[in-house]
Symmetry: C2
Subunit: 368 residues, 2 copies
């Protein structure tokens, strides 16, 4: 069961249409114009016909993906509790299959395809954890997966995608090249496009993470997670708003990629072009589906500088003995920066992933 | 309940004693000599009066220390299973309190003291995980703890001991200085000496790790753990020999500190003087109590080179997303080196600790 948002129709050019009805020769012109208007309506319906996943979709997703994902552990640290004055419960998706929570959404998308749909495989454009996770999930189902990524992507990431059985189509490191190459891939393969976050199947899958967390830890006051495109945060909002709306949801973004924070304050989507941050999983902008959840359910969006992210990352590595990628450190960085907001809370903290280049650690300037 | 090994008496100089009974003046001499013999007997009894912990001690220890330790998780990795052809179950003591399994033995020693004994506190000489763990355990009980360590020890380790409330007495970086300074500490404080491994309370505590593992994973064929002084291996032997003697125990040592492996083959304790290895937790030699377990229960001792240890460490970091110290990587290094021994086994692998200097990683030559 899925809710559908009201369809908004834009009748572009209708005034011109009526003013041009002054001779019979215009009948063909009118017909043509009506066709254009009709096409416009259909396009607008498609664009706005946003399918918002419900909590029932989350329940179905969880049942569907359980064989392919870990129930990741929740870890605590007395040291970090003392440091922050809050009780922190770290949900460790760095220990998830393929090293990130994205295995949840990708698995849900892949395993919700019909046999016929699955035959043509899946495709995405990503150079990050979504590419890995979609390759992992497709490998589990035994269907083809194609990933479009810039030829400049690190060899380790290409190797990892291929290791899971994915096919890589390389493009130039530009948005235009990526889009045209990806359009060709879709046209030629008939593959199902699994967007990294603006996809109801993906959001329902990511929501299973906070669903698990709430079954592992009782009495949480709030959950904080990193935000980039907003897939994890949307899933978290979906879960909390259905299980216990009193649980607040906070989002944490790099200051260098703070378009989400500015969107949140402005009340509409602001999207920056290719922001630069070590939190490389958080560079993507919000899209309509994730904006729906962020604008309706998120309590606040906090930001942290690159140095604050690096320090929080090193703190978690050294104190909790787990590898987390820079993106996963942004929540702790913002908790440390805003102690008055979080003090005394029982706070879930989503550690989103652990895919990091061990030869390039942000606190070691001359590594390698 | 504790077993006691048979006492061996050495009647030093007895032949000389009887040959000297040729005049009455010798009566005093005889009396004096009898005193010497008696003293020798008492010393020999004390030396050999080795208290070997039993499984009942382990059960008592586990109940005693439960409030002060984590039941650490067991993690698996499909990648490492495929690589080794074995089913590996990693018992993650790097996620233990104070970052290592040593919190178990130290807590058991500290909390088994009577109120009167505890009043004078505990002491040890160590610059490693035992110092941290004993400080942690003493802090939990609220009793004094003194650690003798070389003034050359890393500042981070000193800070960590002090962070847990320990007092550091510095000595020269030599065994003779350490021993004389430590003797003074014991004499002045009356503290209870908690040896890092040659102590039945410590071994019973370490045994709770494999006891937990066997309750978390069924049907194990074997367990492998790093070996230095032998505390963890002894505890593992104690557990398996009582719960299921069919479970084999393998030990893994650095080739650069392979005195245990040579002892195992020779049939008596060989102890090297200050071996050099990145696996800095495994430099200590076996002692009588740990030799008892190693010589009676261990199936084999395998070794790995420094490079093999580094590679295994990096493999676990990158694939399992957990921080482990070099010592903890030695078992995987030896599994990879001896595939025919382990292929097809359900194998418990003890990850002993995760205390590592993040500014000096062995695969980064120019770090910092």
């Amino acid at each position: 069961m899925s809710d559908r948002v009201p369809v908004k129709l834009k009748l572009r050019g209708s005034l011109w249409l009526f003013s041009s009805l002054n001779n019979l020769n215009s009948i063909f012109c009118v017909f043509l114009h009506l066709l254009i208007v009709l096409g416009d309506i259909i396009l607008t319906i498609q664009k706005n016909n946003m399918i918002i996943p419900t909590y029932n979709d989350v329940l179905i997703a969880h049942k569907r993906i359980k064989p392919y994902i870990h129930q990741t552990p929740v870890l605590t640290s007395r040291f970090l509790n003392d440091l922050t004055g809050a009780e922190l419960f770290f949900k460790c998706e760095n220990l998830q299959r393929a090293g990130a929570f994205k295995a949840r959404g990708a698995s849900n998308a892949v395993f919700s395809l019909t046999e016929k749909e699955a035959f043509s495989g899946v495709a995405t454009h990503s150079s990050g954890n979504h590419a890995l996770s979609l390759s992992y999930a497709a490998g589990q189902r035994g269907i083809p997966v194609t990933v479009v990524m810039p030829y400049t992507s690190p060899q380790a990431k290409k190797d990892a995608v291929r290791g899971y059985g994915g096919t890589i189509i390389e493009c130039e490191p530009s948005a235009s090249s990526r889009e045209s190459v990806f359009a060709d891939v879709l046209a030629n393969s008939g593959a199902d496009f699994v967007h990294p976050y603006n996809d109801p199947r993906v959001i329902a899958g990511q929501a299973t993470c906070s669903k698990e967390l709430l079954s592992q830890v009782t009495g949480l006051d709030a959950i904080i997670a990193p935000i980039g495109g907003g897939g994890m945060i949307s899933g978290t909002c979906l879960t909390t708003s259905n299980i216990n709306p009193k649980i607040k949801v906070y989002a944490a973004a790099p200051l260098n990629a703070d378009d989400t924070a500015r969107s949140f304050r402005a009340g509409y989507i602001i999207s920056d072009d290719a922001p630069e941050t070590i939190a490389d999983g958080l560079k993507m902008p919000l899209r309509d589906l994730t904006w729906h959840f962020v604008s309706n359910h998120v309590e606040n969006v906090f930001t942290a500088t690159e140095d604050e992210i690096t320090n929080a990352m090193k703190l978690i590595w050294s104190r909790m003995k787990i590898l987390i990628e820079p993106s996963s450190a942004v929540p702790l960085a913002t908790i440390l920066k805003n102690p008055d907001v979080f003090r005394g809370m029982r706070l879930g903290v989503i550690i989103t992933g652990g895919n990091v280049d061990l030869n390039k650690l942000p606190w070691l300037k001359n590594s390698e």
